[in-house]
Amino acid sequence: MMMKNAPSRVEIHNEWDIVRARQSGRDYAKELGFGNVDQARIATAISELARNIYLYAKPGVITIEVIDDQGKKGLAITAKDDGPGINDLRQAMEDGYTTSGGLGAGLPGVKRLMDEFDILSEAGKGTKITARKYLR
């Protein structure tokens, strides 16, 4: 298989795109040498991020790329949309908070699945979330 140096970019319009995004993430994670559990964590985090876009802010884009931070290798997942933005970031990061009647695992869950988590959101302009996981 060709080494995946180029980032993968999956546009999120419908629910099948969620599956495509997480499959792509799993492929990257596997190829980079992540173990089974971390592969599942990464794929699940992508699924949650892609679903947020699908539910609240479609269309958006999930980008998966290999990172090498001074020898620390890993994957960076970016979820970007031009949706309504998140009104109250602190509330959105609370366990159990949901506006969709879902399980509310959403963002705090993603944060726990990954090593690093950054979120930028502006009302009316959109949201950009970057989550990273490093090889141990």
């Binding site: 997480r22 964590r41 869950g109």
Partner: protein, 118 residues
């Protein structure tokens, strides 16, 4: 895509061997409830051995299936949850509390038989 549901005596058996997208999961929920209603099955085993990812949405659907089936009088056991999936669910903050589980199909059936006093 449809997930096949097999009837065996008083039980329904189903094994999920595809990547679960939302549509397939919802269709499965519908099909299973119809099948319980048609057959009067008392127990259901849903085997997840081949499932590599359960996100919060799919977890919610599975939890709902268990509750809905119980309303129809059928006990459900989830079997074969992979270690990686279990770890991920806990990270997500989803314990699937109150949902009966067993290691594999055989133990799942055994659990149902005990619960139903057979």
């Amino acid at each position: 895509m449809r997930i096949p549901i097999l009837k065996l005596y008083n039980y329904l058996l189903t094994t999920i061997q595809v990547e679960l997208d939302d549509q397939t999961a919802i269709q499965f929920q519908d099909d299973l409830l119809k099948k319980i209603h048609e057959t009067g099955a008392l127990g259901v085993v849903i085997d997840l051995t081949s499932v590599e990812i359960i996100d919060s949405y799919i977890a919610k659907i599975l939890g709902d299936v268990v509750n809905m089936s119980e309303l129809l009088g059928a006990k459900v056991v989830l079997t074969g949850i992979r270690p990686a999936v279990a770890l991920t669910l806990v990270d997500l903050g989803i314990g699937l509390k109150g949902v009966p589980t067993a290691l594999d199909l055989e133990q799942g059936l055994e659990k149902l038989r005990q619960e139903l006093g057979e």
